[in-house]
């Protein structure tokens, strides 16, 4: 969706405002939110793509003015209610009032180190062949899906060059809505700055995105 998360190329947010010797967390609640989001993600109730979809469905005004851990927390509140794990009444009361719903797993303390050191790969090898090859000129489709997508607005309709074919990966646009992993070939596509931003752009700029195969069609315009 064209929500508050799709920030590439927006202007007017001001200085980056970095912080020297920044701590990992800025308030005690941020630690707890981080850990709860990780642990709840392993209950099997939703997936990472669904969590991203929940975050970017916050109203843009709220998204753009919230710290990132606040965005994570607001999305988590939404997800536990949507999936029937917690009721609105429980959130308001701050206490459990109904019996728990079943979950596929509960992450145990001793499982954290081995599971997180192994990670959760999202490549899904398969027998089909990629449609595009390195060097192919491709145009990112003009799409505006109401649901989750990982094709940022600033490349839609723009033409670039396939630089690398990475393999088949879980397709977020499907997985986020529990419509299956539906793996697709994933590419690095490089766009010239002038193709994205116009003739006043830095001639020495190139930007690449990782694009799923269904985001792309053979080049229909000027190549990067």
């Amino acid at each position: 969706m064209n929500g508050g998360q799709d920030l590439g190329g927006m202007q007017g947010f001001g200085p980056i405002g970095f912080e020297a010797d920044e701590p990992w967390f800025h308030a005690p609640w941020e630690r707890r939110v981080f850990a709860m989001v990780m642990a709840m993600g392993l209950t099997g109730t939703w997936n990472l793509d669904a969590s991203r979809a929940a975050r970017e469905s916050l109203p843009p005004g709220e998204y753009l003015t919230s710290s990132y851990y606040r965005i994570w927390f607001r999305a988590l509140e939404k997800q536990v209610v949507q999936h029937g794990l917690v009721t609105e009444g429980e959130l308001a009361a701050g206490a459990a009032l109904t019996p728990p719903a079943p979950v596929a797993r509960v992450l145990k303390g001793e499982e954290v180190a081995p599971l997180f050191a192994r990670g959760f790969p999202s490549d899904r090898p398969g027998p089909d062949r990629p449609r595009f090859a390195a060097g192919d000129e491709v145009t990112a489709k003009t799409i505006n899906p109401p649901g989750h997508t990982r094709l940022p607005r600033y490349v839609r309709g723009r033409t670039g060059v396939v630089e690398r074919v990475h393999g088949r990966f879980v397709f977020p646009d499907s997985n986020a809505h529990f419509a299956g992993e539906a793996p697709q070939w994933l590419y690095t596509v490089r766009f010239a700055g002038v193709e994205l931003w116009g003739e006043d752009a830095d001639p020495g700029l190139a930007v690449s995105v990782n694009a799923f195969e269904s985001y792309l069609e053979p080049a229909r315009g000027r190549a990067a």
Partner: protein
């Protein structure tokens, strides 16, 4: 340059009178107690997660990878060819780094990593991302005005150096292999790692020069 930090958190300036806990602390605590009471999360797992990402994983991991690549050409080649496997050789990997790509700075091209759509960042080598990396000013500008972004970080590149921005829009995670600083020929691998900053591996900074580091 803007070094002060403006809006990482609107909430903890807004304490209730007579309470040490902010409204966010109270809301988060309420949700945690519900999740624990209903048996969805094990408090020991929450503690282990915080312990892991607060004290075990951070940019010193990535600095070791960079230093190894600087001293060992065969390792550098493996790192650029299959970063996930090469990083795993040094014992690093896992959540947020399942599919790593390392991109190499050269005099001709400088690399900069961003996630315009969320906060994708190579956790096993850099740890959790700084607030600015996840915030609208950086995410919006990195792809349209990277030289302006670099200037804000105090980095000015020659006009002849091209800039390549990597927007992390899928599950690939990027780390920059910066150029080895001049005057570092005499340093061993551990001393070289001390030159490698977090920002140098994001592309918003350059490695320290040897005279900026005092070895204890």
């Amino acid at each position: 340059m803007a070094h002060d930090h403006h809006d990482h958190d609107h909430d903890h300036h807004d304490h209730h009178h007579g309470s040490e806990l902010s409204p966010m602390d109270l809301r988060v605590r309420a949700l945690e107690s519900i999740l624990v009471e209903k048996g969805y999360v094990d408090p020991a797992a929450l503690d282990a997660l915080i312990e892991t990402y607060e004290s075990k994983i951070g940019p010193r991991n990535g600095a070791q990878v960079v230093a190894r690549a600087w001293v060992d050409p065969a390792y550098r080649a493996r790192l650029l060819d299959d970063a996930t496997a090469a990083i795993r050789e040094l014992g690093f990997g896992g959540r947020g780094g399942e599919h790593m790509v390392v991109v190499e700075n050269t005099p001709e091209e400088h690399n900069l990593v961003v996630c315009t759509l969320c906060s994708c960042y190579p956790w096993p080598v850099l740890g959790l991302p700084p607030v600015w990396y996840k915030s609208p000013p950086y995410r919006s500008r990195a792809v349209i005005d990277p030289r302006g972004v670099l200037a804000e970080f105090g980095v000015t590149l020659p006009g002849t150096t091209r800039i390549r921005v990597w927007d992390s829009t899928a599950e690939l995670r990027y780390m920059v292999l910066p150029m080895r600083p001049a005057g570092s020929d005499h340093l061993d691998e551990a001393a070289l790692a001390d030159l490698v900053t977090r920002d140098a591996m994001i592309g918003t900074g350059l490695p320290l020069s040897p005279d900026q580091v005092v070895r204890s």
